[in-house]
Symmetry: D2
């Protein structure tokens, strides 16, 4: 597997009266990058959910170093940095055209079924397990 960072431009409605991207949107960008990474891994998130595997967010954190402005292009590298079968966490590095990191973050997740009961996907959904495991093992090399 060889991934490209997720990229798009900043939308107007993502800015606030300070003239910069509102800080809440980075949590949403993290999700966009997470979904994109699964698309690239051949395991679209909507398929995962259709198989009855949800991965709600247990915690999220974000560090804001430099702001983004309207219509700037941004890039996000998402990496699975912890994976244990029942839980995983993802780190995010958000940078601009110049490659300089402006925002970093991390989200942690668990696997549950549609009734929010914990799932040991290694047993119940080994194909999903193996994709997450490979992403975890490959680490930063994903983005070559």
């Amino acid at each position: 597997m060889r991934f490209e960072p997720f990229t798009r431009k900043v939308f107007y409605y993502e800015t606030d009266k300070m003239g910069i991207v509102h800080h809440s949107n980075y949590i949403r960008w993290f999700e966009e990058a997470r979904v994109y990474a699964l698309d690239m891994a051949g395991l679209p998130f909507e398929n995962v959910e259709a198989m009855g595997v949800l991965s709600p967010v247990l915690s999220a954190e974000c560090v804001y170093k430099l702001p983004f402005r309207f219509n700037e292009r941004f890039f996000i590298k998402a990496l699975i940095d912890e994976f244990g079968g029942a839980r995983f966490s993802v780190t995010y590095n958000v940078f601009g055209e110049d490659g300089v990191t402006r925002v970093t973050g991390k989200t942690s997740h668990c696997f549950v079924d549609e009734n929010m009961r914990p799932l040991r996907i290694k047993k119940t959904h080994p194909n999903i397990y193996s994709v997450y495991e490979e992403l975890f093992k490959t680490g930063e090399d994903l983005y070559g």
Copy 2:
């Protein structure tokens, strides 16, 4: 029934780089006012949905006369201005502390079941029908 207009203050994250509320948020405010009106009518929207009656939006329109700014208090009167059993429409009047209308709008809706099939609620859910009918008939007098 005697209704109060829906009211709250403008949130910071609702502003954009022009320093005013982003125009997309008024469509959301309309929904807030619509839900509030049903709460006041004793028919909370979550109960309606729990009974298997969804009311998706068929169309929405919004006219922006004057902007709102961060932390300003706004008020919305929502009125059912068309009701036919299968469809209904709601008009919205958004005003500030001074009572001057700044934004108006309208949404139209239909009743469907959870599979998005049309529902004739007069037959299937007469209790819901009668609340909508009363709101429709009372009209502006709701807000005394």
Copy 3:
């Protein structure tokens, strides 16, 4: 000029508890498509605003025919369908991979300066005027 429709996939956070894209988001998508069209026309919106020309939304309308779901790809053709120097309006056609229109809409705008005073851009910013005029005249042929 030859334009491509604006395209991206539906984000998870754009869905609501009905399992489809929340209707308010289409107003935001319209803005994304509008900004993208100006990028393609060589007149990025941030440059327009940096020249002191704002184009607030006077009205917006949206007709919802069919829903979009999470991670579906959508496309938008934005066209200037009215242009008079002081005001303009844009229509939007939102369709999926199958080319079938699911949502249509229209926004109308005026040109104002940073103090929200009307601008006759034909005089004050003829370069901006000519881009809008060309987009207006070319019409649907833009997407050839």
Copy 4:
């Protein structure tokens, strides 16, 4: 000073296809509660910004224990838990009608002027300084 927790109901557009509040919204709720606390302290945030004092977010974190659903009432206690003149941090406790904590969080901020240069508000804006200091010193007793 004696504060009430910030409270409102969950909006429909805040839910996602999982049927619960999308996790990104809690970062926005934190901001709502922060602004409300300043209103209660007699120092509305729009006045602070009008005095040229911005307080951008340096970092944010959120722990999700239990979800909120559409139209549920929620409450937030916001407390300044660190204050040093140049920086401050705020903690958030989000709970429902039953008083049980469902989400907690923390944001850290600095004071800057409109050009994003650090401000020592003790010197430049002693009135703002003293309000923050009092909030910090009073701590949990604010909510009696």
